[in-house]
């Protein structure tokens, strides 16, 4: 890094994209599952 250029940054790049994918996928899945469960709970009971 003596010339001011950052080298070998791929580990950090994969870490950032991995965290992004994990959090967005995990949160979206949690919202879908909670929404589905709430809809099933509030659905009118068939006679």
């Amino acid at each position: 890094m003596n010339d001011g250029v950052i080298r070998d940054g791929w580990t950090f790049v994969w870490a950032a994209y991995g965290v992004t994918a994990l959090i967005l996928t995990g949160y979206a899945t949690s919202v879908f599952l909670r929404y589905r469960s709430a809809r099933q709970k509030s659905a009118p009971v068939k006679p």
Partner: protein
């Protein structure tokens, strides 16, 4: 509340755009002259920042309308925007820390931009947490809206912090200061997270509305079989 599939399509479109933009940013965009490959983190970090701030601005709008018009529907929308905004801003801090280590040499620094963003996460996250402790839906809606309006004061402070104080964090970029080779992955991911955020806010608001219906619904009547006494019905 409408049961349409539009939010589902919005989330799916957002995910596809994010895959496209991220692939472009990871494999086809050139490395930056000084930051090298680490600059590729910007293709997710910057769109997350824009949309996190936008989600909290939408929450502010819902809070104002909730106080103005009343009704638990606006409180459900406020809850949706608050939660999505907090998730995006938490993710923003994590991406920023991963970028900061190779460029600044530290994971975290108490510089104005980072500190005001952390305050934002704790302020809005605190509102979400404290909502769990208020049983009365009307009181919860009122004070959540007031608290969200007060907490929103930090959003412009986050934006202008890099101009008002000396900060490690760089100033806002514009198309004029960013090389054309970096524009498209940034824009595609910005729209990807925008569609994802919109769909998730709508779904989370529907979920909150369903829970509100359960909270305010009258208790179901006790059904007693025909010909049986109440005591027998209760035992069965």
């Amino acid at each position: 509340m409408a049961q349409g599939k539009l939010p589902h399509y919005s989330v799916a479109l957002g995910a596809l755009l994010l895959l496209w933009g991220s692939s472009w940013g990871l494999f086809f965009a050139p490395a930056e002259t000084y930051m090298g490959d680490v600059q590729r983190i910007m293709y997710v970090h910057v769109p997350t920042a824009w949309n996190g701030m936008l989600a909290l601005t939408i929450a502010f709008f819902f809070a104002v309308v909730s106080l103005w018009k009343g009704g638990l529907g606006w409180d459900a929308r406020l809850e949706g925007a608050l939660e999505v905004g907090v998730v995006l801003c938490t993710l923003l801090c994590m991406q920023g820390a991963i970028w900061a280590k190779p460029t600044w040499g530290v994971w975290w620094d108490w510089d104005p931009r980072l500190t005001t963003t952390a305050v934002l996460v704790f302020a809005f996250g605190g509102i979400l947490a404290l909502r769990q402790f208020v049983d009365d839906p009307v009181k919860r809606a009122t004070w959540s809206a007031v608290a969200a309006i007060i907490a929103f004061a930090d959003v412009p402070i986050v934006y202008f912090s890099v101009r008002w104080w000396n900060s490690l964090h760089q100033l806002q970029s514009s198309p004029a200061t960013v090389s054309r080779a970096f524009h498209w992955p940034l824009r595609i991911n910005a729209f990807g997270i925008l569609f994802l955020m919109s769909g998730l806010i709508a779904l989370r608001a529907r979920l909150a509305a369903l829970r509100r219906e359960d909270e305010v619904a009258p208790p179901l009547p006790v059904t007693v079989p025909h010909g049986a006494s109440f005591a027998e019905g209760a035992r069965s």
